[in-house]
């Protein structure tokens, strides 16, 4: 059987920091750029939202007068961990914070533009917003100097290029959180996945489905390297080679995959890549075997590409995990949806999410709406077809960690439908 092909173009260029030279800049630039870009968008939307209201700056507020202001949100959080805590006078015996979420009822929002800051009150729930989001607010200044919000305008889901019509089944497989090298990793499980994708498993029917898989995307955290190798202490020589062991194992398995179809390899928070977003592609020297194939492409995180003109965007999950720490939603998909509506993949960067200090751009702005938006390394599989107000259709996918769930996600390019590939090696399953 012949494997189907899909036309692929990599759009990661915007996430490359190759050209950037660090010259001691700070984070103000990235906020400035973001605000500038988003404000233009929001200003354009205001006439259709509340045409009768004047748009002003934080400084131009007049007490009691209804107006619209646009700015970057800052969420003041009592429990937010601070690096200064390391220096606090007395170490407390009990940790004050539950580690997964830093919300507190006293949290409040502040809106900031270049001219100043104003504390927000009224119809804006602090739990749903995070630092770094740019929005427009309708309201008025109170006598206490706060801004009483009446209505909120988000930039909304960006415009979308038309979804091409594809009239045959073509699948893309997403997998994340392999964690090779950790105790949870089950080599057999992953081998089953590989065999399934490469068509070495199952009957003819299954093989024909497998032959429709046009690409595999590995969305981060493929390996797990013990943190003890990086704590600054010298590594004993016998341990030295063990650092790279999981990577070698990954390379061997990847090589099987790339021999039969294209694979996109994205770095995640545990992978040997840089920490701050955008994470740069994993170095090819790590993949002595797989890198020799031209079907192997090492990509950045976030990762953006087109397959047969279907637009994909995705991350290895850090952006959503961070939102989960600093805000609240009914499920992870809602966070994903919010980032689209805010038109920003990672609003909490750089505040609580590591980020390169860009000077003249904010690469995480989402200018055009993707057709597929995937997020790796989540607790469980969730998906939803989001419909935008302008007929945008986006497939949102939370990819579960493979090492925990044994689940990979398969997406059909023809109709953006999604299904799971579940592998289990235990008998009772």
């Amino acid at each position: 059987m012949e494997r189907k092909q899909a036309e692929y173009s990599n759009l990661d260029e915007r996430y490359a920091i190759q050209g950037e030279k660090y010259q001691g800049q700070q984070y103000s630039h990235i906020y400035f750029t973001r605000l500038h870009h988003m404000r233009n968008l929001l200003h354009a939307l205001v006439p259709s939202w509340k045409p009768h209201l004047p748009v002003t700056t934080v400084l131009g507020l007049e007490e009691g007068k209804d107006c619209i202001i646009v700015g970057t949100l800052y969420k003041h959080m009592k429990l937010k961990p601070s690096i200064l805590d390391e220096y606090s006078k007395e170490r407390s015996a009990i940790p004050l914070v539950k580690p997964h979420n830093f919300m507190h009822p006293d949290d409040h929002l502040i809106l900031e533009d270049e001219s100043g800051r104003v504390t927000l009150a009224g119809a804006i729930p602090p739990a749903a917003y995070v630092t770094g989001v740019v929005i427009a607010l309708h309201g008025k200044e109170t006598s206490a100097g706060n801004f009483l919000v009446e209505d909120i305008l988000e930039a909304g889901i960006p415009p979308q290029i038309t979804l091409p019509s594809i009239n045959e089944d073509k699948y893309v497989v997403f997998v994340s959180g392999l964690s090779i090298g950790s105790e949870k990793f089950n080599p057999l499980q992953f081998q089953l996945l590989i065999d399934h994708i490469t068509g070495h498993l199952g009957d003819e029917n299954e093989q024909s489905i497998a032959s429709n898989i046009v690409r595999v995307v590995v969305a981060g955290n493929s390996v797990h390297i013990s943190p003890r190798f990086f704590n600054g202490q010298a590594v004993a020589s016998k341990d030295q080679s063990r650092i790279a062991e999981p990577i070698k194992e990954l390379d061997i398995m990847l090589t099987q995959l790339v021999a039969s179809l294209p694979v996109d390899m994205m770095p995640g928070s545990n992978d040997p890549a840089n920490f701050s977003l955008p994470q740069q592609p994993l170095h090819r020297c790590l993949f002595a075997g797989a890198a020799t194939y031209n079907t192997f492409s090492s990509c950045s995180n976030p990762h953006q590409f087109e397959l047969d003109s279907v637009r994909f965007i995705g991350t290895s999950g850090q952006n959503i995990d961070d939102l989960y720490k600093y805000s609240d939603a009914k499920d992870k998909l809602e966070f994903v949806e919010r980032t689209l509506r805010w038109r920003h993949l990672a609003p909490t960067a750089p505040n609580s999410l590591g980020c390169y200090p860009y000077t003249d751009k904010d690469p995480f702005l989402v200018e055009s709406c993707p057709h597929v938006y995937f997020v790796g390394n989540q607790d469980k599989y969730e998906t939803q077809l989001l419909q935008g107000p302008e007929k945008q259709k986006v497939r949102l996918i939370c990819i579960p960690r493979f090492c925990d769930s044994g689940v990979a996600v398969m997406l059909n390019l023809r109709n953006l439908e999604c299904s799971t590939l579940s592998f289990s090696t235990s008998f009772d399953a």
């Binding site: 984070y27 220096y87 030295q240 650092i243 890549a273």
Partner: protein, 1087 residues
Amino acid sequence: MSSGGRGGKRRGAPPPGPSGAAAKRAHPGGTPQPPPPAATAAAPVVEEEDMMDEDVFLDETILAEDEEALLLLDRDEALASRLSRWKRPALPADLASGCSRNVAFQQLEIDYVIGESHKVLLPNSSGPAAILRIFGVTREGHSVCCQVHGFEPYFYISCPMGMGPDDISRFHQTLEGRMKDSNRNSNVPRFVKRIELVQKQTIMHYQPQQSQPFLKIVVALPTMVASCRGILERGITIEGLGSKSFLTYESNILFALRFMIDCNIVGGNWIEVPAGKYSDLVSHAAEGEHSKMAPFRILSFDIECAGRKGHFPEPTHDPVIQIANLVTLQGEGQPFVRNVMTLKSCSPIVGVDVMSFDTERDVLLAWRDFIREVDPDIIIGYNICKFDLPYLIERAEVLKIVEFPILGRIRNSRVRVRDTTFSSRQYGMRESKDVAVEGRVQFDLLQAMQRDYKLSSYSLNSVSAHFLGEQKEDVHHSIISDLQNGNSETRRRLAVYCLKDAYLPQRLLDKLMYIYNYVEMARVTGVPISFLLSRGQSIKVLSQLLRKAKQKNLVIPNIKGQASGQDTFEGATVLEARAGFYEKPIATLDFASLYPSIMMAYNLCYCTLVPPEDARKLNLPPESVNKTPSGETFVKPDVQKGILPEILEELLAARKRAKADLKEAKDPFERAVLDGRQLALKISANSVYGFTGATVGQLPCLEISSSVTSYGRQMIEHTKKLVEDKFTTLGGYEHNAEVIYGDTDSVMVQFGVSTVEDAMKLGREAADYISGTFIKPIKLEFEKIYFPYLLISKKRYAGLYWTNPEKFDKMDTKGIETVRRDNCLLVKNLVTECLHKILVDRDVPGAVQYVKNTISDLLMNRVDLSLLVITKGLTKTGEDYAVKAAHVELAERMRKRDAATAPTVGDRVPYVIIKAAKGAKAYERSEDPIYVLDNNIPIDPQYYLENQISKPLLRIFEPILKNASRELLHGSHTRAVSISTPSNSGIMKFAKKQLTCLGCKAVISGSNQTLCSHCKGREAELYCKTVGNVSELEMLFGRLWTQCQECQGSLHQDVLCTSRDCPIFYRRRKAQKDMAEARVQLQRWDF
């Protein structure tokens, strides 16, 4: 125009004025006037010591009024519109028209001026007289100035034997003559107003007879007390009696305090002036309604000056460019006025009234107008007394703005400026001005901090980090001028910074409950609030002593303390500490307020002391005296009750009451008052002992203080003996109890039991048993258990503190360097972490391992530089230091590099010790941490090991480990050493850079390679290590810089802060540098 401030003025026919010390209230000016009563100011604007100006009193008032009108003339409209917001509430109509209801107000400040004596109230006197002014605020927030006429300064001498009424009048004439001679240029008609014969008794020593004759000498003006005292002390010839020198009594009491004592007014209490009367000033005790606080207006302000590069701002050169002000009503959470006055334009700031002016003159005058209108009762700030206020005054002088310093509460009075030099460890010696603003209490938070807390640094930044848990953005003064010279945006940036500096003192004031605590302290001790900051401890005790003595008809002699070192006495006892690490519970038995209790129990006082010569003479029966262990004799209370014991009893009873009330109280303001009160009472009770022992104090009496300590010693020994005798296996207890340590007022006992609960039971039993053997009110209390307990030596210990058997309360340490200012942070972290591991985790091997790792990190150059920074204040320039000091030498060197950013006198100089040639002195090896960072200069780990961390570490570990020194400081972990290569040293200019293999450091010939051929196979592993390193740096970079954004409170602006007190300053800087390097490192892999 003028505010409705000075509201409590009333008019009416004067009642017949009672004479003597009764306070009379009066009001100058006769005819009713419409509000606001602008012409009610009484005294001329003069320095009170200067009596030359009295004649022109009337003229000057008028002149000042014209001037005042002129002042207000050229105010622009914008300013005028602000007045309504600034003003005090308008007076109700009946008060404004001068009338008919009681006026109650809380007084904050009492002073006096010299004025013509009041013709109507005091028809019988003429000439200049002292007029007391009580400044205060009513419940409604109206400002009150109550003037008291007819209170006369006086003092006592003991009447020589055989002096009759005729002799007194002759004595009067002689004294008057001598006074005239020594005050030639004074035009007072009579210096000594009268001399009365009174029956009093001296406080010194027990006297069997109730009273003896004293002469009360009343003089015309307060300043004459001193000169009259001088004449009498030096000796005076009295007809018939010959030449005689006198011991004076109560002749060194400040006039305002004298008045308060005689009229029963305590600092910060409520005073009520009944309607229509002038004679009865009612002073309310701080109870019920009258314990509340009036809505004082508190102004917090800060100024910014555009200093020249490399100089500390000087008023002769550097302009004042911004003044930020916040005005808060006492008891309210938010300020009701926030504004900033700027020189040149400034972009608006949300919630802040920005006032921009074209000239510095306008800025200063706007501030003056603001002060006059907003009329603050209390002015607070950080270092305002020594910097901001004098700077403004001097700057106005330089600019020749004569109308500027009219800031006082008396509308047309000029502030008084006195030259002082002040020296402090932080700020060095500096010429300064002491600015007295009439009627407004100055509360400088810096002074309060230095007085009340022992901190490693008193910069506003570290103080607010300590108390508010926030880092303050710090803009270096060399940047301030640049910001000022930029555009309105950069000036706005500066204004935001300035406002923050004005806001922090207010927040500190609130957080530390300063207003409550100080007002309560003033109430308890009876001195004006301003004394609490500006004067020492002894005035507080003296005030109480005088009040009590007055009730008992006793007078206090003016004995100058001799500052001799001979009269020292044996101090408190400390039982030998049996050093060790105790893993069984240690019970602590404490004497509750030991020294006050001893003074009460044994009736120790000035007036109960029987000197040896009197003892023989009086022949007191042994059952009516106590012989103290130090050999002094005091009579028992049934013979004569001591004043000090009585004061103490009252203080402690009041404290008990306050504590009981505190339990009941619900209202947070009431609670704050009560808590402040019980604290003040406790401090006051404890300071009585110190007062008697202060050899240079007001009334030293070493017999008392040495008796107190000798009793204390005896009691500690007694307790030790009882515990070790009773709690034995012979006595039916499980173990023999052992006293392992005891200091001033506590004894630590190891009962031998292994649970906290059992130890508590035995502790309580012991406390009750031993208390029974003491005279009341001495009481031994069981308070806490230490478990485990690390006793290092006397006054040095650490342990977990338990007050209930379930859970320990905290870790308690004493005398262990964690906050010493000349230690680097590494020491503090190391000590804290070790103690935590030893005491809380009970993991001694873990602590040892931690120390070893840290030392290894230090030697391997892996320690964050900011942990190694040592900071010292530069108090004078290099030449003035006798010995060469590391930070001074460094400041010199930095000045040579760049004078603009080098630290100047008053700055704190941070430094690290670097490696240098062998034999170089420590002071030559100091270096600027930033310079070290930028140039990769190696630090000297040996210095840190030997001079910083070894001593405190050994102290902790010696009781625990054998061979602690060998184990910790010389183990195998000290073998590996790594030193960075400096990038600026001379030799590097000749060195050729060659790429080495990242794996094995072999030189690679090819230009674009990373690894040598041997390491090629380890590519993946080596890359992982590099990238792991880089990602750690990136994480740090992000966390550090976003934290700074958070502190500065803005996302869209660059962080400017250069606060070297901030623990992350150097790390942040380093992160920046590392970030650039990390990128280069990673790029080497791009082949």
